[in-house]
C-alpha cells in the first residue's frame, strides 16, 4: 500500500515536471482558436480620431519643449548674470579678467619680447667704489633668468649678496625638472665661479606656478616630494650652488599643511646635506588666505622676499597703473622741486630748460681764465647796451650768454662752450596739482632728485593726482612685518622691478605685457618716448608715440624711484632688497650705481661713537634653531644613544637574574609572566617589522598575539609543574 502511494506521488511529480518543462501549460493553449474582434465603422473612426489627437498632443508637447529651450536660455542668461553679480559682490574676477590676471602674473616668468636682441648688444661693466661688506648683514638679491644667457658677465657681483638662477621648473607629476636646457646651463655656465669669486652666493629658484600644479604636486605620493628634494640636492651638488629660492605661486588654501610639511622637509634635508645652504622664499604680494604662515616658516627659511611688484594685478582684475607704487599721502598738495646734477659741456647746459643752481668747471685755473677772457671778448663784441656785470664771475658771464640769444647761437662762442666740461646742478619747479591756500604758511616743496641725466633733460613733468591707491609697497611691508613680528623683520627683503608694464592706450586701454628697463631706456634715448614722474606713487610713466600720436604708456621704475623704495625698505628695518631681473638693465649702469649708493655706500648715525658709520643690519643668526629643529636634526644620534642606554639597562636586568632570589620573585607571579611575555611579543613584532619579516601588520599582530598566548600558556604550565615538584 505504502509502495503504491509512493509510485503515485512519483508519477504525479513527473507529470507536473513535464508540464512545467513543456512551457507553462502552452501545449494546450496552442490548440485554442483565436478570437476575432469585428469593429464597427464608428469605432474605427473613433480610434482614428484618438490617434490624430495623440499626434496633436505630441506636437503640442514639442512646442512646449521649444518653449522650455527658450526658458533654458533665459535661465542660462540669468545664471551668467548671477555669476557676474556675485563675482562683483565678492570682488571676484570674471573669466575674461582672470585670463588677464593670469597673463599679468605669469608673463613675468617668460622670456620678454626682444630680449635676445637687447642682450646681443654690448653690455657695460659697472665700476664700483664701494662694495657690500659681510658685516653689513644686508641682502642684495637678484634673479638671473635662464633666458638671459651670458648676460651675467656684466653683473657687478660685488654689489650683490645672492643671485638666484631662474629656474628649476617643477614637474608636479614626478618631482623632476621640465627645462633640461636651463638646468644644464646652471651646471656648466661660469655664473657660479664668477659669483663665488666676489663672495656672492648662487641659489637655484624652484618654481611651481598655478594652482593646478600645486594641487597635482601636493596630492601626489610622498615619493614625488622626496624625488624633488633628492634631485635639487643633486643639481646643487653638481653645480656648486649655495641653496634654493622657493618660488611657489597660488598654493591653494587646502594644501597649506602639505606646503608647510614640504618646506620643512626640504629645508631640513638641504641643511642636513650642507648646513651652509641658504633657503629663500618669495612671498606673494597679498596672501589673503594666509597660506604663507611666517610664524612657522621662519624656522625653515632664511630669507623671505616680498614680491613688491605687479601691484597693477588686483584680486578682481588688472588695472592700469604703477607696477610698484610707493605711497605718499601729501604729494597732491605740495609743489615739487626737481633737482638734478649733470656732467656735460657748457653749451648743452646753457640750452637745458632747468634753472642753473651751480656750475663747477672741470678744468684748471689757466683754462678758466682763458675762457673768461674769450667769452668777455665776445660779449663786448656783441655791443649790448647798459650791460653791468662782474667780468671775473663765470656765473654772471654764462647767465648773460644764456639770456642773449645771438651770443648763445654764435658758432665761435658755441665752439668754446662745447669744449668746456662741467658739472652743473639744475633745478625745475612744478606747481601742485591740487592747490591749497594755506593761511599761515605753505607746505614745503617736495624734493625729487633725478639721477638719469640724459633722460630727464626731456622730462615731461611731474604729476601728483590723488586717486585711490588700493595697495602699495608700504602697506605690503607693514602686512608682512606684522605677520613675522618686528624683531624678525630683517628676514624680509623687498623685491623691486627692473621692468615696466606696457599698456595700449589707443582704442581703449589694454594690458600688453612687460618690457625690460633697458628697452624702455632705448625708447627714450631714441626719442620715441617722453617721460613723466608720478610723484604720488613714485613711478615713471613713459609715453610712446608715433606719427599719429601717443599709443602706449609704460609704467616703470628708474634709479630715482628705486632709490626711494630702497630707502623706505631699509628705514623700516628690512633685511635688504631684491630685483627682478638682473639682466634687464643690460647696457646701462645707473641701476648698479643706485645699488652702490643706496646699499654699499649707505651710512647711518652711530650714537655711541657720535659719527656717521657704515649702515648695518642687526642680525645675530639667520636660522632660528628651535628645539623641534634640533631634535629632528639630531634624531639619529638621540635614537642611537637611547638604544645604547637601553642595551645597558637590559644587561643590568640580566645580571640581576643571576641571583635565584630575583628569579624567584620575578617569575613566581603570573601577572609578571604575562607582562614579560607581552614585552617579548611586542619586541618580536617591532624587530620583525623593522627587518621586513612581516608585510601585513594586522596579520603580524594576530600571529604575535596567538604566539604570545601560546607562550604564556606553556610558560605558566611549566612554572606550575616546577613549583609542584619543589619540596
Amino acid at each position: 500500500m505504502h509502495n503504491i502511494k509512493h509510485y503515485i506521488n512519483l508519477i504525479s511529480t513527473c507529470f507536473i515536471f513535464l508540464f512545467l518543462l513543456t512551457g507553462n501549460g502552452s501545449v494546450w493553449s496552442q490548440a485554442k482558436p483565436k478570437k476575432v474582434i469585428e469593429l464597427s465603422p464608428n469605432e474605427v473612426q473613433r480610434i482614428n480620431d484618438s490617434i490624430q489627437l495623440a499626434t496633436k498632443e505630441r506636437l503640442e508637447m514639442i512646442k512646449e519643449k521649444e518653449v522650455r529651450v527658450e526658458d533654458k536660455v533665459v535661465m542660462e542668461l540669468n545664471r551668467n548674470r548671477f555669476n557676474t553679480l556675485s563675482r562683483k559682490w565678492w570682488n571676484m574676477p570674471t573669466e575674461t579678467d582672470q585670463k588677464k590676471i593670469d597673463k599679468g602674473r605669469y608673463s613675468r616668468y617668460q622670456r620678454p619680447e626682444g630680449i635676445d636682441e637687447l642682450l646681443s648688444s654690448p653690455g657695460r661693466i659697472h665700476r664700483h667704489r664701494k662694495e657690500i661688506r659681510n658685516e653689513q648683514n644686508i641682502v642684495v638679491f637678484g634673479w638671473h633668468p635662464y633666458w638671459a644667457g651670458e648676460a651675467f658677465r656684466n653683473y657687478n657681483f660685488n654689489l650683490l649678496t645672492h643671485v638666484a638662477y631662474y629656474a628649476y621648473e617643477l614637474n608636479p607629476f614626478t618631482g623632476g625638472y621640465q627645462n633640461f636646457e636651463a638646468i644644464h646651463d646652471f651646471k656648466t655656465s661660469e655664473l657660479i665661479p664668477m659669483a663665488h669669486n666676489d663672495s656672492c652666493k648662487v641659489l637655484l629658484s624652484l618654481s611651481c606656478h598655478r594652482a593646478e600644479s600645486s594641487e597635482i604636486f601636493f596630492t601626489g605620493t610622498a615619493k614625488v616630494q622626496l624625488n624633488l628634494i633628492d634631485s635639487l640636492i643633486a643639481v646643487l651638488e653638481s653645480a656648486g650652488g649655495d641653496g634654493v629660492e622657493i618660488n611657489f605661486e597660488e598654493v591653494p588654501y587646502e594644501f597649506k599643511p602639505d606646503f608647510q610639511d614640504f618646506i620643512r622637509e626640504l629645508s631640513f634635508r638641504l641643511r642636513e646635506h650642507n648646513p651652509n645652504y641658504t633657503i629663500a622664499m618669495t612671498l606673494p604680494l597679498d596672501d589673503t588666505d594666509k597660506v604663507y604662515d611666517l610664524g612657522f616658516l621662519q624656522n625653515w627659511v632664511d630669507i623671505f622676499i616680498i614680491a613688491g611688484f605687479n601691484f597693477h594685478l588686483r584680486p578682481s582684475g588688472v588695472t592700469k597703473g604703477s607696477v610698484a607704487p610707493l605711497f605718499n599721502d601729501e604729494a597732491a598738495i605740495r609743489g615739487s622741486y626737481l633737482s638734478y646734477t649733470q656732467v656735460s659741456n657748457l653749451d648743452s647746459i646753457l640750452r637745458s630748460p632747468g634753472t642753473i643752481r651751480s656750475v663747477e668747471l672741470l678744468h684748471n685755473e689757466t683754462y678758466m681764465n682763458k675762457l673768461l677772457d674769450t667769452l668777455n671778448a665776445y660779449i663786448k663784441a656783441s655791443r649790448i647796451e647798459n650791460l653791468d656785470y662782474n667780468r671775473y664771475d663765470m656765473g654772471d658771464v654764462l647767465r648773460i650768454i644764456q639770456l642773449y640769444e645771438p651770443l648763445l647761437n654764435n658758432p665761435k662762442v658755441r665752439q668754446s662752450l662745447r669744449r668746456t666740461a662741467c658739472k652743473v646742478e639744475l633745478a625745475k619747479y612744478y606747481q601742485p596739482e591740487e592747490r591749497v591756500n594755506f593761511f599761515l604758511f605753505a607746505p614745503e616743496w617736495d624734493t625729487v632728485p633725478i639721477y638719469e641725466f640724459d633722460v630727464f633733460n626731456g622730462l615731461g613733468g611731474i604729476i601728483s593726482k590723488t586717486d585711490t591707491v588700493v595697495d602699495d609697497i608700504v602697506k605690503a611691508i607693514e602686512r608682512y612685518t606684522r605677520a613675522i613680528g618686528a624683531t624678525h623683520a630683517n628676514s624680509l627683503v623687498l623685491g623691486l622691478p627692473y621692468y615696466g608694464a606696457v599698456w595700449q592706450t589707443r582704442g581703449g586701454s589694454e594690458f600688453m605685457g612687460y618690457m625690460p628697463y633697458a628697452q624702455i631706456r632705448n625708447l627714450i634715448r631714441n626719442g620715441e618716448a617722453t617721460v613723466r614722474y608720478d610723484k604720488r606713487r613714485h613711478t615713471m610713466i613713459a609715453t610712446v608715440s608715433d606719427s599719429i600720436g601717443a599709443y602706449q604708456e609704460i609704467f616703470f621704475d628708474n634709479s630715482t624711484s628705486l632709490s626711494l623704495k630702497i630707502d623706505m625698505a631699509l628705514d623700516r628695518k628690512l633685511g635688504g632688497v631684491a630685483v627682478w631681473a638682473l639682466s634687464y638693465d643690460h647696457g646701462y649702469n645707473e641701476l648698479w650705481s643706485t645699488l652702490e649708493e643706496q646699499v654699499a655706500a649707505r651710512t647711518e648715525w652711530n650714537p655711541s661713537t657720535e659719527q656717521m658709520g657704515l649702515f648695518k643690519i642687526d642680525k645675530s643668526n639667520k636660522i632660528h634653531y628651535t628645539i623641534a629643529y634640533q631634535m629632528k636634526r639630531n634624531s639619529n644620534l638621540i635614537f642611537a644613544t637611547l638604544v645604547f642606554i637601553t642595551i645597558f639597562m637590559t644587561i643590568g636586568f640580566i645580571f640581576s637574574l643571576l641571583d635565584w632570589r630575583v628569579r624567584d620573585v620575578m617569575f613566581y607571579s603570573g601577572a609578571f609572566r604575562i607582562f614579560y611575555l607581552t614585552i617579548f611579543t611586542v619586541l618580536v613584532l617591532v624587530l620583525g617589522t623593522w627587518l621586513g619579516l612581516f608585510q601585513n601588520r594586522i596579520a603580524a599582530f594576530l600571529i604575535g598575539l596567538t604566539l604570545g598566548g601560546i607562550l604564556i600558556w606553556v610558560a605558566t604550565v611549566l612554572v606550575t609543574r616546577r613549583h609542584e615538584k619543589l619540596p
Partner: protein, 85 residues
C-alpha cells in the same frame, strides 16, 4: 668603608676603559667602520663628536647597568623578620 671606596674606584676605572671600545661600537651604529676612509675634514669632526657622545653614553650605561642590577637585587631580598623580643 674603605672596601666600598676601593670597589667603586675599580668600577670607575673599568667603566672608563670599557667605554673606549664601546664608543667604537656606537660609531658602528652610524655606519662608520674601518672600511670608511677618505673622510673630509668636516666629516672627521663629526665622527669625533659621535665617538665622544658614544664614550659618555657607554660610561653612563655601565653605571645604569650596575644600578639596575643592585636595585632589583635589593628589592628582591625578603624583608628580615623583626627580632623577637
Amino acid at each position: 668603608m674603605g672596601k666600598v671606596i676601593a670597589r667603586e674606584f675599580i668600577w670607575l676605572i673599568v667603566a672608563l676603559i670599557a667605554s673606549l671600545p664601546l664608543g667604537i661600537v656606537f660609531l658602528w651604529f652610524f655606519g662608520y667602520t674601518r672600511e670608511v676612509v677618505n673622510l673630509s675634514e668636516g666629516e672627521n669632526n663629526y665622527v669625533f663628536w659621535i665617538y665622544l657622545i658614544g664614550y659618555f653614553a657607554s660610561f653612563l650605561g655601565i653605571y645604569i647597568m650596575r644600578f639596575i642590577a643592585i636595585s632589583i637585587k635589593t628589592l628582591s631580598k625578603p624583608e628580615e623578620a623583626p627580632a623577637e623580643e
